[in-house]
């Protein structure tokens, strides 16, 4: 179903050939002489286009079809691709951190804002001892989440943060999914890049590309 849709999208992009709501707007040539200009001005003056504009806004006022989202009280759902402040996920099986300390995110980070340090713990296993993201430098490019082999570091959807220093936003503990969320089985996976916003199929219109 999904593939069909995409295929149809790519194979027939010429809107002129498909039945659709698009149509060409008739644009007349610009008048060149004075008489033509006069005729155009006279035509526009009696055509009543101004009243069409008045009627349209009046109709919208009477319909009272308000589209305001009253922000703090109401919120728009944000797309799964949204790249807000990072989150660190835990393993579903054991509730321990997914991060294996491989350091790929530190390596790839385009603005050098991840610092990670590891050590060998009592059981001779590699353990992350230090992990910090300097959000004052992060450009939210998403490379770290893309490169992570364990799906450990991801972007979250939390966009409401305020502080006088962006660096204050989070420590490793803040990013980590809290244990009780884990216990409740409520950790949300990051659908990742290329994920489609819910109901996108109905909302997207074809772009007329046949020029």
């Amino acid at each position: 179903m999904h593939n069909e849709h995409i295929e149809e999208h790519f194979s027939s992009r010429n809107v002129a050939e498909m039945p659709s709501d698009y149509y060409m707007v008739a644009i007349e040539d610009y008048p060149k002489d004075g008489w033509g200009k006069f005729k155009r001005a006279a035509k526009r003056a009696v055509k009543g286009e101004l009243f069409v504009g008045l009627w349209v806004v009046m109709r919208e006022m009477i319909r009272f079809d308000i589209h305001t989202v009253q922000y703090p009280a109401e919120k728009m759902p944000i797309g799964p691709r949204y790249r807000a402040v990072h989150e660190m996920k835990r393993l579903w099986e054991s509730d321990t951190e997914r991060c294996i300390g491989c350091g790929l995110c530190e390596k790839i980070c385009i603005s050098n804002c991840i610092r990670i340090d590891t050590r060998i713990d009592e059981n001779s296993r590699k353990e992350v001892s230090e992990y910090s993201i300097n959000l004052g430098r992060c450009i939210f490019c998403g490379y770290c989440a893309e490169v992570c082999p364990e799906l450990a570091i991801t972007h979250g959807g939390e966009y409401e943060n305020a502080s006088d220093q962006r660096e204050h936003f989070l420590t490793f503990q803040d990013m980590l999914t809290p244990l009780d969320t884990m216990k409740a089985g409520a950790q949300r996976e990051f659908e990742g890049f290329g994920a489609i916003t819910p109901h996108e199929d109905e909302r997207v219109k074809k772009t007329p590309l046949a020029y």
Partner: protein
């Protein structure tokens, strides 16, 4: 007698000042609400019921905001400019009969400050002086965008004043008086005696010129919308800016009164219903100012001058000639 007249006039002036300053505030509320509804928004909703107290909040903000005088402005002119706008707007109101005369505590009140025999001339003249507010403000601001806006304002001013004067000449010829009260008496015989039926062209022309006069949307050239800068008011803050604002809105109300009285019969025979009718007409014209702002784009200054000089002025002159021939 003299003293009583003096006191009465002072009271009238204070009442008009208070009512129309308050109306200017409430006008901004209606403007925001109407524009919002027409654009499928909600407008102010959070302060008070239906956002009504937004007006009070804005007022408090305007009054308490720091009054900044930038260092390189021409200080005295910069300070006086907003006063000119507000003062001329209210001075023009002196010759407008706001309601029919009524009796209160056995004392007959004429709700007009001064029934001078050159009422319309006075109103148009004073409203014309109002241009000096934006013009001087923009020139004294030491800001090139303010200067541009002031220059544009002056260009618009020269164009529309011609239309205002010429279009109103024909009704004046018919009535034979410049007093707005005489205009009202002339049309007191009910709807059929309204001047709009005999002078529809003059009515439309004057209405169009009123938009330029108040600087409302199709002719809102005094703000530099295309430069995303507010124009002559850019350097102003606090209550000085507020005075420009009050002047603009008061002007809208007064010009609505003038149109209603000259062309649409005013308060008619002076009964209570007639008074309500006048307020209704004024409300409609005020609403129309907001309506066009939601619906129409601004024209360019050269288009406005083209419209005024090449289209509207000839029509106005022809209208006068025809009126003259018919009256002969």
């Amino acid at each position: 007698m003299e003293i009583a007249y003096f006191i009465e006039t002072i009271i009238k002036i204070v009442v008009i000042l208070l009512i129309f300053s308050a109306l200017a505030g409430i006008g901004t509320y209606f403007e925001r609400k109407v524009l919002a509804f027409m654009q499928r928004r909600l407008g102010p909703v959070n302060v008070g019921p239906f956002g009504l107290l937004q007006v009070a909040a804005d007022g408090i903000k305007l009054f308490t905001k720091e009054d900044i005088i930038p260092t390189s402005v021409v200080g005295r002119i910069f300070k006086i400019a907003p006063v000119i706008t507000a003062a001329t707007a209210f001075m023009a109101a002196a010759a407008i009969p706001f309601l029919p005369s009524f009796t209160i505590f056995g004392y007959e009140v004429h709700p007009i400050v001064a029934d001078i025999n050159i009422g319309i001339l006075y109103i148009l003249g004073i409203m014309g002086v109002g241009l000096y507010g934006p013009l001087l403000g923009g020139m004294a601001s030491a800001n090139k965008f303010s200067l541009l806006s002031a220059a544009r304002g002056a260009a618009v001013f020269i164009s529309y004043e011609v239309i205002t004067g010429l279009s109103i000449l024909a009704p004046i010829m018919m009535v034979g008086s410049l007093s707005l009260i005489d205009f009202n008496q002339y049309q007191s015989g009910g709807i059929t005696s309204w001047i709009v039926w005999s002078q529809p062209v003059a009515f439309i022309l004057f209405w169009i010129a009123a938009f330029a006069e108040t600087g409302r949307t199709p002719f809102h050239l005094i703000a530099n919308d295309h430069e995303i800068i507010d124009g002559f008011g850019t350097e102003y803050s606090g209550m000085r800016w507020g005075l420009f604002f009050i002047g603009e809105y008061a002007n809208m109300f007064f010009i609505s009164f003038v149109i209603s009285i000259i062309f649409l019969g005013g308060y008619g025979d002076g009964s209570f219903l007639g008074a309500l009718g006048l307020l209704g007409k004024v409300a409609f014209f005020f609403f129309f100012f907001l309506w066009t702002r939601a619906a129409w784009p601004d024209v360019r200054p050269d288009q406005l001058m083209w419209l005024c000089w090449k289209v509207l002025m000839p029509i106005a002159v022809i209208n006068i000639v025809i009126t003259g021939i018919v009256m002969m």
